[in-house]
């Protein structure tokens, strides 16, 4: 298939790319943009490891044609940390054990980011439901709920960490 020019907006930057129209967003992110944070974990959109945000909505990038995302704001895990510091949810996943092997973690980061944007103080049940589209084989999810609650508390308490400060 002949390649076509496409402009994608990823993590706040515009990229002009020449890709086949049949290429999936996940492969364009990983191969053409070198953003390997989003992962492939299955063949049939059943695991969520490829989750990215498209206009703030969690979508499985293995099920999207890159061409269909032209003009939309795409956010990947590489766009979560801000101002050179770990976002609260990223630090919390480390502190509370939400990530073990880390392979599913980027997908969860996007899902949690979208959850907290829509629902800043979810119940554990609401967290479970929101996370049910992302599969994890290591953690059993329990420490993830603690991490999400920990992140909410940390944001309420201290606000964001400035880069260069160390506490």
């Amino acid at each position: 298939m002949k390649k076509e020019l496409l402009e994608l907006k990823v993590n706040g930057r515009r990229h002009e790319l020449a890709i086949e129209p049949s290429k999936l967003l996940l492969d364009v992110l990983r191969q053409d943009l070198g953003l390997t944070g989003s992962k492939r974990g299955c063949d049939d959109s059943s695991c969520g490891a490829c989750t990215v945000l498209v206009e703030g909505v969690p979508m499985m990038s293995c099920t999207l044609l890159a061409a269909s995302c032209e003009g939309q704001e795409i956010t990947t895990v590489e766009g979560v940390a801000e101002h050179g510091a770990l976002a609260a949810i990223q630090k919390a996943y480390g502190d509370w054990g939400g990530a073990q092997c880390g392979y599913c973690t980027p997908g969860f980061m996007m899902t949690v980011k979208a959850l907290l944007a829509a629902n800043p103080d979810p119940t554990e049940d609401e967290i479970r439901h929101a996370l049910s589209g992302n599969l994890c084989r290591c953690t059993g999810y329990t420490q993830m709920y603690q991490a999400v609650k920990g992140a909410i508390e940390a944001e309420q308490k201290g606000g964001k960490q400035e880069a260069g400060s160390r506490k």
């Binding site: 990983r30 953003l35 390997t36 944070g37 989003s38 992962k39 492939r40 974990g41 299955c42 063949d43 049939d44 059943s46 695991c47 490891a49 990947t76 895990v77 590489e78 979560v80 940390a81 770990l86 949810i89 990223q90 630090k91 996943y93 480390g94 502190d95 509370w96 054990g97 990530a99 073990q100 092997c101 880390g102 392979y103 599913c104 973690t105 980027p106 980061m109 967290i127 479970r128 439901h129 996370l131 049910s132 589209g133 992302n134 599969l135 994890c136 084989r137 290591c138 953690t139 059993g140 999810y141 329990t142 420490q143 993830m144 160390r166």
Partner: protein, 853 residues
């Protein structure tokens, strides 16, 4: 000695940021200039001879650089020295649907996939074996010519006098249990990138570097050497981040060798990443197992004898098979006090993907049978199930009848904790119908005392280097796969040296740089690599202490290393950051480059303490660069008995687990809901409680998956559910609350008393749930997973008068007899898809006709 600065603290893993930002690299994230993508052609037949492979048309396709077949790599290998029965690509025949026939290396994935379709393969199908109890009677059409009756191995052990033990018993219970096949399904599919360098002296291909998602980089290096016929010194294996293993990456998987072979022929780097379907075909998971379990006890509950006949359906290659079957017998011991044991184990070959090691290995399915039988005996004797376990506890330190040495033993406390936390005494027997509590116990090795490849070599060696910059670099062969071994290594080094965690840098699992560690399997890393790290750190600490002692005019033994300082035992350092051991403290101005501290020292006050860096500089001034080496080999007295097969089972230490499950059973739908599991695990000492709790929860959760949902479904050797939608692994909604309870028995030999915490809990979860189901609705399920279909069938068997469903008629999971096939006659009464014409069951087999009833 419990006043540690970093041991026992809840900290984030040292590599957590790479995982949460996506910056960390897994093998498929790596690229090299000129890299080709490899795709493998798999066998569509369960058993067939390869008559001819013609790749001409594939090679003509633009973008295809090379096609390799078995002829390019005919040397056999296998993870066990006795099991070298595999080749990277099939040479003369294929032995399972999914076996590896050819590999295309092309410029991109779509081209490689198209090329696969252009490879012509002529097969001569052979009769195939699918059921292990049939396969082990085979007289012809053997899967491996040197394995008569398709029997990989069989063992027959007798310890004590089981006949007498059963004769003396007041109560004997016997039943068949069936555990269906499960697989690791790690989130990261296997991936390998292989690249040859050109040698400047010969001008030809020289050293090979392989990045691979592996738990065992050194075994990979070894097998690559065998197959490629290259010295190991010319092969470098590097382990990037690994997205989970659970045993599925604890042996060399075909793509790892195929990528190297393809890279050599293509003369370009080749990366192969499995699709999820290919991961299922690669498998090496937990074999489906038939257990005939018999248990005898006296009226007071004391066990007199156990007899188990275990048949493991091992698939088409040996893999870990001999070890798996031995574990199914060996760990009948070392948990309860059983004086008489009879065990017969059969590891059988069939034409299905090979089974290997999976979390808890061969102990898991037998533990399900044993703990269920134990509950049955308790019921017959009117004893509380928790009580019967207490009655049969070991009294360590001791050696079991099957020569296993037990030292630290936290099982009594584990049982007590879960009984207390679950409200067992108050609630059990008083819950409404449909709700129940069940208990189960399990244990596991903290590494095998005898290594796979027998030698006198230590099982782990660790090097430490400290230079003038004050950084502590730990070189360890231990493979981080998400379980936290890098963090464990850093914590131990930091604790011994009394320095901040920030100072410690881990270089791991790179065969060029790190000394050998035999791998991340059988839960050996904390115990063995941890001990090696501790010893290496002690050696370096000695060098620093002797130099600091000279500077401070005292004895080296009087020095304490803590909080990034070295100080005399009686002195209190006044540095402001003394309490915060996680921040990098202080620096030495200028002197670090100039050398001697003597000049500045004269003007400064206390000689009662120095910073870690000053001490390091002092030591380097005296000794030169600081390096330390530590290694660990299990002691001789832990290595077990000399009986045949006695090498598997012994460990320097065992972990223990006790769990209570709280479940509801819906008698209309058969659905089992687990409300909560309390899981107490004796890990010796929790070096990092966050990680330990994570491992306990993770292993209980994986046991729950096997108990309720996970099952590989077969039809004539074809896997019917090679995907995550149909191989059901619990999502967040289906995963109950799991309360991990850390029990610390402080092992005498583990590093800081630690032993394993990642595998031991899995096995107890399955019987805890089945025992809870019995408590809830009075059905004893003996086939796992406990799917709604099986629960309903068991309920109907219980209530003979209830309405029957055609779907489950004739099926009784409380009395399973054999494995069932998808669509086979045991699911549907009478009608059903025709059996494959090559199925042995059709060719005049006596069992075949009854299956069509």
């Amino acid at each position: 000695m419990t006043d540690f600065s970093i041991i026992g603290r809840r900290i984030a893993m040292v590599d957590a940021a790479g995982k949460t930002t996506g910056a960390g690299k897994y093998t498929d994230d790596l690229t090299l200039p000129g890299m080709l993508i490899g795709k493998i052609l798999h066998s569509p037949y369960p058993h067939a001879r390869i008559k001819r492979i013609d790749a001409t048309r594939a090679l003509e396709l633009e973008g295809v650089v090379a096609v390799v077949t078995g002829k390019d790599a005919p040397n056999k290998y296998g993870i066990l020295p006795v099991g070298h029965d595999e080749t990277a690509l099939a040479v003369d025949k294929v032995r399972y649907v999914g076996d590896n026939v050819a590999c295309v290396a092309a410029v991109d994935e779509p081209t490689a996939e198209k090329a696969l379709e252009l490879i012509e393969v002529e097969y001569e199908p052979l009769p195939a074996w699918f059921d292990p109890e049939e396969s082990m009677k085979a007289e012809r059409d053997l899967i491996h010519e040197n394995r008569p009756h398709n029997l990989e191995k069989d063992y027959h052990h007798i310890f004590g006098d089981p006949e007498k033990g059963f004769a003396e018993a007041d109560c004997v219970r016997q039943a068949r249990y069936i555990a269906n096949e499960v697989t690791h399904a790690a989130m990261e599919p296997h991936s390998t990138l292989a690249s040859f360098e050109l040698d400047p002296h010969t001008g030809a291909l020289g050293r090979l570097t392989v990045w691979s998602s592996t738990q065992v980089p050194y075994y990979l290096q070894h097998k690559l050497s065998l197959v490629l016929e290259m010295p190991m010194s010319q092969i470098r294996v590097i382990k990037p981040l690994v997205g989970g293993g659970f045993g599925g990456k604890s042996e060399v998987i075909p793509l790892e060798i195929i990528a190297a072979v393809a890279a050599r022929v293509a003369q370009a780097p080749v990366k192969i990443t499995y699709t999820r379907e290919e991961v299922f075909w690669a498998h090496r998971g937990r074999p489906r197992t038939i257990i005939d379990m018999e248990l005898g006890a006296k009226q007071d509950g004391r066990l007199t004898a156990v007899a188990a006949r275990v048949v493991q359906d091992g698939g088409a290659y040996c893999s870990y098979g001999v070890v798996s079957i031995l574990y199914s017998g060996a760990l009948l011991g070392a948990i309860y006090d059983i004086p008489n044991v009879r065990w017969d184990g059969y590891r059988v070959l069939t034409n299905k993907p090979a089974c290997g090691a999976m979390r808890g290995h061969g102990t898991v399915n037998v533990r399900f049978a044993f703990e269920s039988a134990l509950d049955e005996v308790a019921g017959a004797l009117a004893l509380d199930p928790a009580e019967i376990r207490r009655i049969n506890l070991l009294k360590p330190p001791c050696i079991t009848v099957n020569n296993l040495r037990v030292t630290s033993y936290g099982l009594p406390e584990c049982i007590e904790k879960v009984v207390e936390r679950s409200g067992w005494r108050e609630r059990r027997g008083r819950l409404p119908r449909g709700r129940g509590l069940g208990i189960g116990c399990s244990h596991y090795v903290s590494g095998a005392a005898n290594s796979i490849i027998r030698s006198d070599m230590p099982h782990s060696t660790v090097n430490i280097k400290i230079d003038r910059d004050g950084g502590v670099v730990v070189y360890t062969g231990a493979s981080e796969i998400g379980q936290g071994s890098d963090t464990m290594t850093a914590q131990i080094a930091a604790e011994v040296l009394g320095c901040t965690l920030q100072r410690v840098k881990i270089v791991a699992a790179d065969t060029d740089l790190t000394p050998i560690d035999i791998g991340s399997y059988s839960s050996r890393v904390t115990f063995m690599a941890g001990n090696a790290t501790l010893r290496a750190a002690e050696e370096v600490k000695k060098q620093i202490a002797s130099a600091a002692a000279r500077k401070m005019n005292c004895a080296a033994e009087d020095l304490i290393f803590r909080n990034d300082r070295v100080f005399k035992r009686d002195a209190m350092p006044s540095a402001p950051s003394a309490g915060d051991s996680s921040a990098v403290a202080g620096h030495v101005e200028g002197q670090i480059l100039r050398g001697s501290l003597q000049q500045k020292r004269k003007e400064e006050a206390p000689k009662d303490w120095m910073t870690f860096e000053e001490a390091v500089v002092a030591a380097i001034d005296f000794h030169g660069a600081l390096t330390g080496t530590g290694s660990y080999a299990p002691p001789a007295e832990a290595r077990g008995g000399s009986h045949k097969g006695g090498g598997v089972g012994p460990s320097p230490s065992y972990s223990y687990s006790a769990q209570v499950a709280d479940v509801s059973v819906d008698e209309e739908t058969g659905e089992v809901t687990v409300h909560k599991i309390w899981a107490a695990h004796d890990c010796g000492r929790a070096l990092n409680p966050v990680s330990v709790e994570g491992q306990i929860i993770g292993s209980v959760w994986m046991g729950l998956g096997q108990a309720l949902e996970e099952e590989m479904v077969w039809k004539d050797g074809l896997l019917m559910n090679p995907g995550l939608l149909e191989y059901r692994s619990p999502s967040a909604i289906e995963s109950p609350e799991i309360e991990p309870i850390i029990v610390e028995s402080i092992d005498p030999e583990g590093p800081f008393g630690a032993k394993e915490c990642s595998e031991g809990s899995l096995a107890a979860t399955i019987p805890a749930i089945s025992n809870a189901i019995y408590d809830a609705v009075g059905i004893r399920l003996r086939e796992v997973p406990f799917t709604p279909e099986r629960v309903l069938a068991a309920l109907r068997a219980r209530d003979a008068a209830a309405k029957k469903l055609d779907l489950t008629e004739g099926v009784d999971p409380t009395a399973p007899t054999r494995f069932r096939e998808h669509g086979g006659a045991l699911w549907f009464k009478g009608k059903g898809p025709k059996r494959h014409e090559l199925d042995q069951a059709v060719a005049g087999n006596p069992h075949g006709s009854s299956a069509d009833d």
